[in-house]
């Protein structure tokens, strides 16, 4: 399914039982939920996996209760926060520790950055596929020039300049679509 389909359109299709749309919706928000759990709340992988599955189970069960399809992102953010906090509370009931107390406060700067990062990833959907691929592989997947070159059949020596050109396209895409975002921000809310 094309990435140019909006999240709100995907929600509407999911509500009609479109399984392909559900798969696309999960794909669209999988990094977001993962980042909130691991960066915002600093959960380790094992806990983050449980949180990830629980969040998407709740999204699937409660999609009909979403008042506006446009609100899917803050709604998922809110659900993820609640699941994270519930898990922290359950953990701190089992063993009280300074670490659990410390983790109970999410890193709000990290969560604000994650929101902004989602905007950037959405904007990447408007770039040519080769740009999306190269930027994602280098910055989000931490792949080397050599790995990228082999995967995309490009000379490794051209990767740096391609990345630079793609960043310029991405910046143009972002500046053409919305006001400049704040560099740090407050809470995610519905």
């Amino acid at each position: 399914m094309s990435e140019t389909v909006s999240a709100a359109q995907l929600v509407a299709r999911c509500r009609d039982g479109d399984q392909e749309a559900w798969a696309a919706l999960v794909e669209r928000f999988s990094r977001y939920v993962y980042a909130i759990a691991t960066q915002g709340f600093r959960f380790r992988e094992h806990d983050a996996e449980d949180i990830f599955q629980e969040v998407f189970a709740k999204v699937y069960e409660r999609l009909d209760s979403l008042r506006s399809d446009e609100a899917i992102q803050p709604w998922i953010a809110q659900l993820t926060r609640r699941v994270c906090v519930d898990r922290l509370r359950a953990g701190s009931r089992e063993e009280t520790s300074d670490e659990a107390e410390l983790a109970a406060d999410p890193d709000e700067d990290a969560i604000a950055r994650i929101d902004e990062a989602l905007d950037v990833h959405d904007a990447m959907a408007g770039l040519p596929e080769n740009c999306r691929e190269i930027l994602d592989r280098f910055f989000a997947r931490d792949e080397t020039y050599r790995t990228i070159g082999e995967a995309l059949e490009l000379p490794a020596g051209t990767i740096a300049s391609r990345i630079s050109r793609c960043l310029v396209k991405l910046r143009d895409e972002l500046e053409g679509r919305k006001p400049v975002p704040a560099q740090s921000g407050g809470q995610v809310s519905v």
Binding site: V26, S30, R31, A35, E49, F52, Q53, H121, D142, L174
Partner: protein, 84 residues
């Protein structure tokens, strides 16, 4: 200077690494798991022996009955039969 300089863009792209593929796949299969869930619960309500077998060893019973016990299905069934 633009707020979207190269360093900032690089940081923001890197702030969303991919979730593990297996997690994503499991979540994408939720609709199938839910459909199987409804069938299994209906059968467990009608067949006491099947219900007992599920409670005794969920994964083995499902595998024996030809289901592929993926995580979302297992989690949902464990929650459903937790009070049994």
């Amino acid at each position: 200077m633009s707020a979207f300089n190269e360093d900032r863009l690089a940081e923001l792209i890197g702030a969303l690494p991919p979730a593990p593929e297996a997690w994503v796949r499991a979540a994408q299969e939720l609709p199938v798991a839910r459909s199987q869930f409804d069938g299994i619960v209906a059968r467990a309500e009608a067949d006491a022996e099947f219900r007992r077998a599920l409670i005794a060893d969920l994964e083995a019973t499902l595998a024996q009955e030809g289901y592929e016990p993926e995580r979302p299905l297992l989690d949902a069934l464990r929650r459903r039969f937790a009070d049994s």
